[in-house]
């Protein structure tokens, strides 16, 4: 879906003029955390008096070329640490707003609808599972998002993504 189409549908959903939506790509590049403690991969504070609407969290984890531990069939770039075990969640002002035990697979690389009020710090947090420590990787993130008037936050409130996850 093109940006123009996304803006159109967000405008329809919020009853706010298309002209009031600014597309924003928010990115980060970080070395992958080697520990299993919860780590913020991205911290962003939306501008005051705006609503920050996130429609996709794109993430890739990229190992070094020719890393000796890589073998044929290794496909890390599609999975956070190639194990399927990491957890991921969002925090606003350092308080979790999505389930802390949710698999990263729920949050990344698929359509979502999250909204955050301006001026409030947002963190994307990852937590590796104990026992899974792949080689050093670079994590790149690109959040597809929009900056909209402050009233968009309440108007989208009932549609926002909820996460219902079990984690074994």
């Amino acid at each position: 879906m093109t940006i123009a189409e996304e803006i159109y549908y967000l405008s329809q959903l919020t009853c706010i003029s298309c002209g009031d939506f600014n597309h924003a790509l928010v990115g980060a590049k970080v070395p992958s955390p080697s520990s299993t403690a919860a780590t913020s991969l991205l911290t962003y504070t939306p501008p005051e008096n705006l609503t920050w609407i996130v429609t996709r969290l794109n993430l890739r984890s990229i190992p070094p070329v020719n890393d000796p531990t890589l073998t044929v069939g290794d496909w890390r770039s599609e999975d956070y640490d190639a194990s399927g075990t990491a957890q991921a969640y969002l925090q606003v002002k350092q308080r979790s707003v999505t389930a802390e035990n949710a698999s990263y697979f729920l949050l990344f690389n698929k359509p979502v609808l999250f909204a955050f009020q301006g001026g409030q710090r947002v963190d994307v947090v990852i937590k590796r599972a104990v026992g899974f420590a792949p080689p050093d990787e670079v994590i790149v993130l690109a959040l597809n998002s929009y900056l909209a008037p402050p009233e968009a936050y309440d108007r989208l409130a009932r549609n926002l993504t909820q996460i219902d996850a079990s984690y074994t």
């Binding site: 531990t69 044929v72 069939g73 290794d74 399927g84 698999s103 697979f105 909820q162």
Partner: protein, 238 residues
């Protein structure tokens, strides 16, 4: 995109956009069971009782010998072959509050188990599933592409089950159901399970299965209004 989907489902169901809540339902589980089917019970019409609780033990001990022909137990799953001439089998199970499932096989595994909140309709539009082997697993070879296929064999089947009944074709391949756009709706209070079944002989390495279901919670009237649009599966499996 979510806003677009909400808009379109709203149009289809004649419900206001504000009544639709986007919901990601997911989980992670470790390596589905892929045991062998004991040849003595590998036939249609058997029932099995999957329960190690006291209720299960009471049930087995309460079964009058006349109403069943055989009990085989494999790794905690007992297969009770009822005597088709004795009508009391299900009554005894109900009294002991044991759930009986017919036709399930030990190669089947529930990869998602979700009970729809009461007074909502649960609308599913995409079931994302990945099966992830360990990095550097010695069984992996060049061209291995497990992340896109349930067990890299193309042979696994998948189906939806609501309460005790299968609602999609049992023979449909996992490729039909998983990682493609779809439109399924389930009523509030129903227990919905996504079941996969490996083909005999398909035994890849130990894997993590991650599941993320893209869905919406809508008012209960959405169920009937979407009924004529819902995904049907027409597949053959050979």
């Amino acid at each position: 995109m979510i806003a677009q989907e909400i808009f379109k489902i709203s149009a289809l169901s004649c419900l206001p956009c504000s009544e639709l809540i986007h919901l990601l339902v997911g989980g992670k589980l470790f390596d589905p069971v892929d045991g062998e089917i004991p040849p003595s019970i590998a036939r249609e019409g058997h029932a099995f009782v999957e329960d190690r609780s006291l209720a299960y033990q009471a049930f087995i001990s309460a079964l009058p010998p006349a109403i069943y022909r055989k009990i085989d137990c494999v790794e905690g799953v007992c297969f009770v072959v009822p005597n088709e001439f004795a009508p009391d089998f299900e009554r005894v199970a109900r009294e002991q509050q044991i759930e009986i499932e017919y036709g399930n096989l030990p190669t089947s595994k529930t990869i998602l188990d979700y009970t729809v909140p009461v007074n909502f309709t649960w609308i599913v539009t995409l079931v994302n599933v990945r099966s992830i082997p360990p990095v550097n697993d010695p069984a992996l070879t060049v061209g291995d592409w497990r992340s896109e296929d349930f067990d890299a064999s193309g042979t696994a089947k998948a189906k939806w089950r609501v309460n005790r009944s299968d609602v999609t074709q049992e023979t449909s391949t996992n490729f039909c159901l998983l990682n493609h756009g779809c439109l399924f709706a389930f009523k509030g209070g129903d227990r919905v399970r996504l079941i996969v079944e490996r083909a005999p002989g398909a035994k890849p390495p130990t894997q993590q299965i991650v599941v993320a279901v893209n869905s919406y919670l809508a008012p209960p009237e959405a169920y009937d209004r979407l009924a004529s649009n819902l995904t049907q599966i027409d597949s053959s499996f050979s």
